[in-house]
Amino acid sequence: MNKFTLSTIVENKALSSDVYLITVKLPFRIDAKPGQFCILRVNGRLDPLLGRPFSIFDLEGETVKFLYRIKGKGTKILSEMKENEKISFIGPLGKWYPYPEGNFLVVAGGIGIASVYYLIKKFPERAIVFYGVRLKNEIFFFEEIKKFAKEIYVSTEEGEFGYKGVITELFQNKAKNLDLPIYACGPMLMIKELKKIVNDRKCYVAVEERMACGVGACLGCVINTVNGLKRVCTDGAVFELRELIL
């Protein structure tokens, strides 16, 4: 059952110049699964009008965390909100990552880590994580991921930390032939590269599209798939990679 409610900001912390971790408290517990998302909306104003979708980064009872990057007007305003302020909340929404049976591979690019962190945490010691960023200071929650994951590999563009290059290269070198399901979230460029590497293997990716309702009613968030147009908000945001027409 989806909930629409006012949540209270417990903490809204800058982790870098443009990435924040917001913790909100709901009036009740929610049951959400890794890969699902919520829509947050700055209450009481008409501009920005629509809520903004964010992946559930972490969840404990009635406390939900989101990791977000300032991108435009909405996220800028969100970043300026303070403790105890209210924010309207719809969620949990969308499909989740099908649960892995054994070990699994994770490929995350940049802020895409927000979508897979909870999955890595929920199935401790089972994820082999590939986490790519541009610069070293864009690696977030490295110690935590290291703790929960079975293995972690990082890449930075200039090689300041970990592998020098893009994460799909590192993934290809290390994991191309591992017969494990893959869970991925990141920029479209990364997803496209990944598609070339994994061919028809089981690979689940969370994708983004602009949203209005978030519940399948407006048909605004559709993307092209081999099975026709699908709504990211309700048919996704997690899709099988082979289904997507990129």
């Binding site: 209005a212 048909l219 968030c221 092209n224």
Partner: protein, 311 residues
């Protein structure tokens, strides 16, 4: 005592004047997880055509100041699937089901209107006169008076239920168009549909949507919608349903005061799934505060003297 919120649109009796606007409430099911659909005056279903329609290429939405553009392109599951898969669920609720419909040409309009008129469980029809087919002359049905006249006449001839015609604001004189609709026998008019609009990405120098233009909705269009509703209410005797940018009960009341018998809430559902229910409660509260026992006493109660408060 609780005030009466009942209104009539043709032969259609609504328990309150709040409906959901077509295309913004899906097939009802999507919002039944949030609100009790029994509370609504009625549900206006997403635009329906004879055959399923794929709609426009993504991206389809873009936020604008206090509003949004959409270029959904009337994607829908088609008449057969609607009747089989959606209508039985909707019929479980004690609310009126209004089906918004369109065709690729006048023959298709007539055919689907005829079918819907004979479909049990459909309480009323709302004719969307913004024909999507760019190839035929009927694309101008909403804006050319003589095409509108012929279209409404022929559709009316096959519809035995309450027929509402939904007007586009893209005309010089919307009251004149409403009058034509009334003359040709429609039971009600609803207005307004979205405004064709455009946003350009200056980096790519292309439109932000998959199609070049989209329809503007939301609070940004509300004052225009109120003005248009007021003009239409003065011009016709048939009931008017006011639509455009309604977010809360006070917005809804503006439409009622200028003469609308009912309102439909669109974009607001996206920003608050409880919007319709809160609007109904707000209207009721307002009537109690104002000591008004019947909603019909406030409908059309606009004081047309200019506001002289500052003189």
């Amino acid at each position: 005592m609780k005030p009466s919120l009942k209104v009539k649109i043709g032969s259609l009796e609504l328990k309150n004047p709040v409906l959901t606007a077509s295309g913004t409430f899906g097939y009802g099911l999507e919002y039944s997880q949030f609100i009790d659909l029994n509370l609504l005056g009625g549900i206006i279903i997403k635009g329906l055509s004879l055959k399923p329609k794929k709609g426009n290429p993504p991206p389809r939405i873009y936020e604008t100041p206090c509003g949004m553009l959409n270029s959904i392109g009337l994607q829908n599951i088609g008449y057969e699937a609607f009747v089989k898969e959606k209508l039985p669920f909707l019929r479980k609720f004690n609310t009126k089901i209004v089906v918004n419909f369109f065709g690729e040409n006048l023959d298709e309009y007539i055919e689907i209107a005829n079918k819907l008129s004979k479909t049990d469980g459909v309480d009323a029809l709302e004719m969307n006169i913004s024909c999507p087919n760019k190839e035929t002359k009927w694309r101008k049905m909403g804006t050319e008076p003589e095409l509108l006249r012929k279209a409404v006449k022929e559709v009316r001839a096959v519809v035995n239920k309450t027929l509402i015609v939904k007007l586009t604001p893209q005309v010089t004189d919307i009251a004149y168009m409403a009058k034509i609709v009334e003359d040709e026998g429609a039971d009600a008019v609803s207005l307004i549909n979205t405004f064709p609009a455009m946003v350009v990405d200056i980096k790519t120098r292309s439109s932000v949507l998959g199609t070049l233009t989209g329809g503007l909705s939301g609070p940004a269009i509300r004052p225009i919608a109120v003005r248009a509703t007021w003009e239409v209410c003065k011009a016709v005797k048939i009931p008017v349903i006011g639509i455009g940018g309604i977010v809360d009960y006070s917005d809804a009341l503006q439409f009622l005061i200028v003469g609308a018998k009912a309102v439909a809430v669109g974009t607001a559902n996206f920003i608050n799934p409880y919007a319709t229910v809160e609007i109904i409660e707000g209207i009721e509260r307002f009537l109690i505060e104002e000591g008004i026992n019947n909603i019909n006493d406030i409908i059309g109660s606009i004081n047309e003297k200019a506001n002289n408060a500052y003189n």
